[in-house]
Symmetry: C2
Subunit: 134 residues, 2 copies
DNA sequence: TTGGACCTTCCCATCATTGGAAGGTCAAGC
DNA sequence: GCTTGACCTTCCAATGATGGGAAGGTCCAA
């Protein structure tokens, strides 16, 4: 129990590669790791949990700034679920905005592509549209 | 007609700011502009058309690499509409993939948020999920 | 003791864009 | 003619998240 490990092992278990672990430390997402006498970083199981937390938050598309806040809330017993939910819903809103934007682009481009023969001839409504929209 | 203008005017008309015009020149999206004796860049109406083309392509989410190719096809009379359509549809596919990814994240996060009280209490299924997915 | 697999820090690249600094040019008003 | 301010020039750096690699130190097993 309570075993400690070096960065390679922590990477394997947490699913966050070593390069990224160092990076997360450097930008303050996770606290500075303890070191052996020779300078190797040491990780506890708790540290690995934090890393996996970060990985999963990334998987939901949260920014590093948001993740930093989420980690601190996670670690803070006097947090309120309201704070967490606010961040989550703001992120949902941002993603939904992005989805709409992409859908709009897809719609336009599909329409143009539908009218493009896609053969050996040079005529192309896609280029026409980009070249002169009027 | 056939008036020529400096970068500021070209920026206004094309809708691409001056900083970005210089950048596009530096990365080869547009050819190097002619210069006055004193070194100011000179743009023709045709150049401005190219800049607006780039701006609209950006608006459809194309990458600079793709836009470089599209500009060259636009300028090339012996292009085939097939080439253009291929690029466009590949881009549509990429955007649809991205949309699915975002939708999946939104779905997960909305589900977690729905079960989160969002009040003064610390209990929070969002943090629980990020902390231990098992 | 040697080798290889690990670790360290540091710098650079990506992508598209923006910002600023330091300095040159132009045109209008005095 | 000179000043002023708006424009232009180049160069360097930052963004956000990550990856790649170099140069060098450490650990462990044969």
């Amino acid at each position: 129990m309570n075993r400690s490990m070096n960065i390679g092992e922590a990477a394997k278990i947490s699913g966050v590669n070593a390069k990224l672990i160092r990076h997360y430390e450097s930008i303050g997402i996770i606290p500075k790791a303890l070191r052996t006498d020779s300078g190797y970083r040491i990780y506890s199981e708790s540290d690995v949990n934090t890393l996996a937390f970060v990985r999963r938050a990334r998987g939901l598309g949260f920014s590093m700034k948001e993740i930093k806040k989420l980690v601190s809330l996670w670690r803070n017993r006097s947090r309120t679920s309201h704070e967490v939910k606010t961040i989550a819903l703001a992120h949902v809103g941002e993603m939904e905005r992005k989805i709409s934007e992409l859908q709009e682009m897809v719609k336009t481009l599909k329409h143009l592509a539908k009218n493009c023969h896609g053969d050996q001839r040079p005529e192309c409504p896609i280029l026409d549209n980009l070249g002169k929209p009027e």
